[in-house]
């Protein structure tokens, strides 16, 4: 069971209760994952619009249940190790999964949500 409880947020924002409930189910089903990739959640959660899901995640941020972090995509299309509070703090070069360094100025940067609780 995830320690994250979106129940109080559902009560405060009934218009987004469905999105928050779906998000809660996703978090509970992925208890090992402490960093939420919104793209991945949007792919898995089909019964809620992307806009509602994005708002639900923003509500989590505002409630202090998550904080925004940034990750870098390697040339192979997977996430590099390491996360950054601010995109300007990303080093010029990062290692891919097989320790080959790549230039991050050409790389995709993905905003994500690290669960705080």
């Amino acid at each position: 069971m995830s320690p994250i409880n979106l129940g109080p947020l559902e009560k405060q924002h009934p218009d987004y209760a469905r999105a928050l409930r779906s998000l809660q189910v996703w978090i509970d089903d992925h208890a090992q994952e402490r960093v939420i990739n919104p793209k991945k959640v949007a792919k898995d959660v089909r019964d809620v619009t992307t806009a509602d899901l994005a708002f639900a995640l923003t509500l989590m941020l505002k409630a202090g249940l998550a904080r925004r972090v940034y990750k870098v995509v390697t040339p192979a299309g997977v996430l590099a190790d390491g996360e950054f509070e601010d995109p300007t703090g990303i080093p010029e070069k990062l290692p891919d999964r097989f320790e080959h360094y790549f230039d991050t100025s050409d790389a995709e940067i993905v905003p994500m949500f690290r669960l705080v609780a």
């Binding site: 090992q32 994952e33 402490r34 960093v35 990739n37 991945k40 990750k71 192979a76 299309g77 997977v78 996430l79 590099a80 190790d81 010029e92 070069k93 290692p95 999964r97 097989f98 320790e99 360094y101 100025s105």
Partner: protein
């Protein structure tokens, strides 16, 4: 102790390498002793005022400060190259005393007694420490080398001076280099080199360690301790060992080495073993005589024994005897990984 002369440098290293909690823990162990104060406004005060005062007043032994530095810089965030002595007679001669005598002659006690040395030698390398690793493994030793190099780095900033003409900004930076050779009794010499974005530097530093070991032992007396068979077993036996490790990225070569395939989980927290299709593909390559070329393994934490914290390593991404340890870890956790590799390798032979 001679190293008192280098207290400023030692404190500076503690401030850079150690966490506030580690420094506070050290001071806490001496709580109640005169001149030991734990609370501080910030890390700088904790190190520069509290720790300095405690050391200068002999409230704690300077060796405890060195142990903090050793713990922070010797284990993890490095490449480890494993080498095996070509025969057991050589292995038996590799005692700390023998190596020290070969390096510094009959007066080696004096040289070793003055270690650790903290201060860097500009644009050069120097021996900084030689000691037994622990009472638990009395035949193991570690030789440490510090280096310093001024490097030029592009900042990424450019400025256009005229159409088609621009300036790129470069800055000079001092690179502190920590290298070591660790004798892991009874059969392994580990050459440890810090991680760096330049593979050329990694290879040069690896050679540097051998060059500095050469009065005592030379590379031709050792063979590469290859990890290919161990990796194969780690993959093929992942199901029965699911409580011990997971693997996230795997490179495989087919039998004829005509095809190379890399499997990577998209998430950095992923586990390839969760994908049956991927497991079947990798196992298919291996069972048909293929081999591994790079395997990222996460050794899972064990609450009752080592590893106390989970530890991710990359096996044989470049050299067959090379392991990259990603994060900082304890000496015991790193030995755990080496011992696991020993076990998998032995069972495969």
């Amino acid at each position: 102790m001679a190293t008192y002369k280098e207290l400023d440098e030692a404190l500076s290293l503690v401030e850079n390498l150690c966490t506030t909690e580690q420094v506070a823990d050290l001071l806490r162990r001496h709580k109640g002793t005169k001149n030991v104060r734990i609370s501080a406004e910030n890390k700088e005060d904790l190190v520069r005022r509290n720790l300095r005062t405690a050391v200068e007043n002999n409230a704690l032994d300077i060796n405890e400060v060195f142990d903090l530095i050793r713990s922070a810089e010797e284990n993890g965030n490095q490449h480890i190259f494993y080498w095996r002595p070509s025969n057991s007679r050589l292995a038996n001669t590799l005692t700390l005393e023998h190596v020290a005598e070969q390096l510094w002659g009959a007066n080696w006690h004096k040289v070793v007694g003055a270690f650790p040395s903290i201060r860097l030698k500009p644009d050069d390398f120097k021996y900084t420490d030689l000691r037994a690793v622990s009472t638990r493994k009395p035949k193991d030793w570690i030789l440490k080398i510090y280096g310093q190099k001024t490097i030029t780095r592009a900042t990424g900033k450019t400025e256009t001076e005229a159409p088609g003409v621009f300036w790129r900004e470069f800055v000079e930076e001092s690179l502190r280099i920590v290298l070591s050779a660790r004798w892991n009794y009874p059969d392994l010499l580990e050459v440890r080199v810090q991680r760096n974005e330049s593979r050329t530097r990694i290879d040069d530093w690896h050679k540097q360690v051998w060059a500095m070991l050469s009065p005592a032992l030379v590379r031709s007396q050792f063979t590469e301790w290859e990890l290919s068979d161990a990796m194969k077993r780690i993959v093929l036996e992942a199901e029965e060992n699911s409580g011990i490790y997971e693997y996230r990225d795997a490179g495989v070569l087919d039998k004829g080495e005509d095809v190379a395939a890399n499997f990577q989980s998209v998430s950095d927290q992923g586990n390839l073993f969760k994908s049956q299709l991927t497991v079947a593909s990798i196992n298919g390559y291996l069972e048909a005589g293929g081999s591994m070329r790079g395997l990222s393994v996460k050794w899972l934490a064990n609450p009752n024994a080592e590893p106390l914290e989970e530890l991710r390593v990359l096996l044989s991404a470049k050299e067959s005897n090379e392991v990259i340890v990603y994060g900082h870890c304890s000496a015991g956790d790193l030995d755990y990984v080496t011992n696991q590799l020993r076990a998998f390798r032995k069972a495969a032979s």
